[in-house]
């Protein structure tokens, strides 16, 4: 049973690396969706014995959201905004993947140092930390608004896996509230992207630089 879970962990790490080097926006959206889906399957595999109905239902909701609803929203935002098809990184792809690998090594070290309860699934803590880091990488080194939302989703995936690793059981209501928040967040961000593209004719957040303390006034505004 756990061998399969460990395979999924490896798969999640590979998706992190792929995200660091993928240049196409639609591939990025698909990769993030795939990661969400396999993360959603994970709790069913890591469980001992036959899964509860509640757990299965919850996993189904997560998979539907991350695998279908979010990518649909993102694709729609991409089409509506008429964004160019690549992600336009601020740093080169080799640099991205090196950073990602470095993060994975650091995460492995950190995972072995943290006094966490024994999880039974190898590498789950390092994988979750590396995923969170990949999310930050996407947010900070990509210029498009959509990739920043994708980064947020990757961080969310990472935190979800981290929660599985710690066995912290939250009540169903809380889990649902968190999920609802993430859903609304993506929804609101999608709307914001639409407005950004309409106002600025692009969704390049590097152009969102009118508000600052030092540049104002110098450019004659």
């Amino acid at each position: 049973m756990n061998t399969f879970a460990e395979l999924i962990i490896v798969f999640i790490i590979l998706i992190d690396l792929a995200l660091a080097v993928t240049g196409s926006l639609s591939s990025c959206i698909k990769l993030v969706a795939l990661q969400g889906v396999v993360a959603g399957i994970l709790p069913l595999l890591a469980m001992h014995g036959s899964p509860h109905f509640r757990a299965v239902a919850f996993a189904a909701v997560i998979i539907a959201l991350k695998g279908a609803v979010f990518p649909w929203l993102m694709m729609r935002a991409r089409d509506r905004s008429g964004a160019r098809k690549d992600v336009e990184p601020l740093i080169s792809y080799p640099a991205s993947i090196l950073l990602c690998l470095g993060a994975f090594i650091a995460s492995s070290w950190l995972g072995s140092r943290l006094p966490l309860p024994e999880t039974g699934v190898a590498w789950i803590v390092p994988a979750s930390l590396a995923t969170i880091f990949t999310g930050f990488l996407l947010i900070t080194t990509r210029t498009k608004a959509i990739t920043q939302v994708l980064g947020y989703l990757v961080i969310e995936n990472g935190i979800y896996i981290f929660g599985l690793a710690l066995f912290v059981e939250q009540p169903m209501m809380v889990e649902l509230a968190i999920l609802l928040d993430v859903f609304v967040a993506v929804f609101v961000m999608g709307i914001a992207i639409f407005h950004i593209s309409r106002e600025f004719d692009h969704i390049d957040t590097a152009e969102l630089s009118e508000l600052s303390d030092w540049r104002r006034g110098e450019d004659g505004r």
Partner: protein, 494 residues
């Protein structure tokens, strides 16, 4: 029962606001919901403090002193804001705005969205103050971010859009880190079955896993600290506060930042019970002082008066964090600072909206001799300045004094010196702007139409200022005991 009503009233009203067609009906709904919410808040406070006080029903939503204090501030602020907002919306409808600085015409977001989000925002903030389960608290804080984002983007301009995007992204990512913190907290109590409910965590604080508890605090501090606007996580704050409509800025600064502070206080209370007060206190003090210094540095050379108010909010968040970090009697000071800052800053933001309406610019250098054009607004503007900088008699002064006294008693002389120096720089910096805006020589604006001051929009700010002065002169017994109880909840001593 009342707790449930407090949560449900704004929730139902907010949903209803999206469905109502008539503007007049929606505005009436806004005001009456705010009044009902305030009434319920007064009732729940009375029942809690009054004779034969019941400990409240256990569950995910219940109020202790700390929650009640922040609920009271939020509800009072919203009451003022709703009255201000109604008149504001009427004026906006009649005379849709011109971009204050850019000079181009813009549209506003539909009023139904604005009012609906405003009411749901109140529901989310109420949920934050009532949450006894830290997972629920997290969900509620994130909900406040999402519901207030459309409010910032009420004026559909590029600048407000930029501010909204930064706010959404920075705060969402920050709060995602707080979720990590919650997971660490859950893991810290895994062996003892402490769960994530405050009662369980406080009862079993002594046997929690300490390294994991420290990690939990760090993540929760960074997460909620981002939302609270502590330096260096504050970058979204001046943008959002300056671009949002004045009434929204007032709520963001006065109510929302407090909610994030409450999140930090909840965890630091648990850490204090676990004997980690030194660790959490050090971090809170450090970042509190850093925020103060940052605010002082950025205050010099501000060009935009709403940004100036935003940096003053960062200053006060720093003071609150500092007070909470010093512990002991300073926690009382921090809570009093939260209360007085909220009322004063909300009043100032309300007034800033009126200054904007009178002068059509947000630039400090272009506003001169305000008292000739709008004397009552100018009087409020100047009064707000004296209150916020902590001139006695002001609740802000009392709060700063208590915190300073505690710092000296604990022999943190360097800290006290840095604290006073920052306050002096902030006072001098702000004095220059406020005085040149209020007095100064009006130049070359002969052709402008006379400006009519709106009494309905002046009143909330005036009322708040009176409350702050009263708090500085005399704390009524019930408020004193509420603050003292809240300080105990937050891990302080008396």
């Amino acid at each position: 029962m009342i707790t449930r009503a407090l949560l449900l009233v704004p929730l139902v009203a907010g949903t209803l606001a999206f469905l109502l067609r008539s503007d007049a009906a929606r505005r009436a709904l806004l005001v009456w919901t705010a009044r009902l919410h305030f009434l319920l808040t007064a009732l729940v406070t009375y029942l809690h403090l009054g004779p034969g006080s019941d400990p409240g029903e256990p569950g995910w939503f219940a109020f202790d002193n700390l929650g009640l204090l922040f609920l009271g501030v939020t509800s009072l602020l919203f009451l003022g804001a709703s009255h201000y907002a109604v008149r504001y919306l009427e004026l906006e409808k009649r005379d849709p705005g011109e971009e204050a600085d850019g000079g181009f015409i813009f549209n506003n977001a539909p009023e139904a969205v604005f009012t609906g989000c405003l009411l749901l925002f109140l529901a989310a903030m109420t949920a934050v103050t009532a949450s006894r389960h830290l997972g629920m608290l997290w969900a509620a804080v994130e909900a406040t971010t999402l519901l207030s984002a459309p409010l910032i983007y009420f004026h559909r301009t590029r600048r407000s859009l930029e501010a909204t995007w930064k706010y959404l992204l920075i705060c969402s990512v920050g709060i995602a880190l707080a979720l990590m913190g919650n997971l660490f907290l859950g893991a810290a109590g895994l062996k003892t079955g402490a769960g994530l409910e405050l009662e369980g965590l406080l009862a079993k604080a002594a046997v929690l896993d300490q390294p994991l508890l420290k990690a939990a605090f760090l993540f929760l501090f960074v997460g909620y600290g981002t939302k609270m606007g502590l330096s260096p996580f504050h970058t979204w704050l001046p943008d959002a506060h300056s671009e949002a409509p004045a009434v929204v800025s007032a709520l963001l600064s006065g109510a929302l930042l407090n909610c994030a502070f409450l999140g930090i206080l909840r965890v630091s209370g648990i850490c204090a019970a676990a004997g980690l007060a030194g660790f959490t206190g050090g971090i809170l003090t450090l970042f509190g002082l850093l925020s103060l210094v940052t605010a002082a540095l950025f205050m010099v050379g501000q060009r935009d008066y709403k940004r100036m108010l935003a940096y003053s909010s960062i200053e006060h968040m720093g003071i609150m964090a500092l007070g909470a970090g010093l512990g002991g009697g300073a926690v009382f000071g921090a809570l009093l600072a939260a209360l007085s800052h909220s009322l004063t800053k909300a009043g100032l933001f309300f007034t800033s909206g009126l200054v904007l309406a009178a002068e059509k610019t947000k630039r400090i250098s272009e506003v001169k001799g305000l008292w000739r054009r709008a004397p009552r607004t100018a009087a409020l503007w100047l009064a707000g300045f004296f209150l916020i900088t902590g001139t006695p008699p002001s609740g802000v002064f009392l709060a700063k004094f208590i915190i300073l006294k505690e710092a000296l008693e604990q022999r943190h002389y360097a800290l006290a010196a840095a604290f006073l120096l920052s306050l002096a720089i902030l006072f001098a910096g702000m004095a220059r702007y406020f005085i040149s805006m209020t007095f100064g020589e009006r130049e070359g604006k002969s052709g402008e139409k006379p400006y009519v001051e709106e009494p309905a929009m002046l009143l909330p700010a005036a009322a708040f200022f009176v409350c702050v002065i009263l708090a500085g002169l005399y704390l009524p017994g019930w408020l004193g005991s509420l603050l003292a109880g809240a300080a105990l909840n937050a891990g302080g001593k008396l």
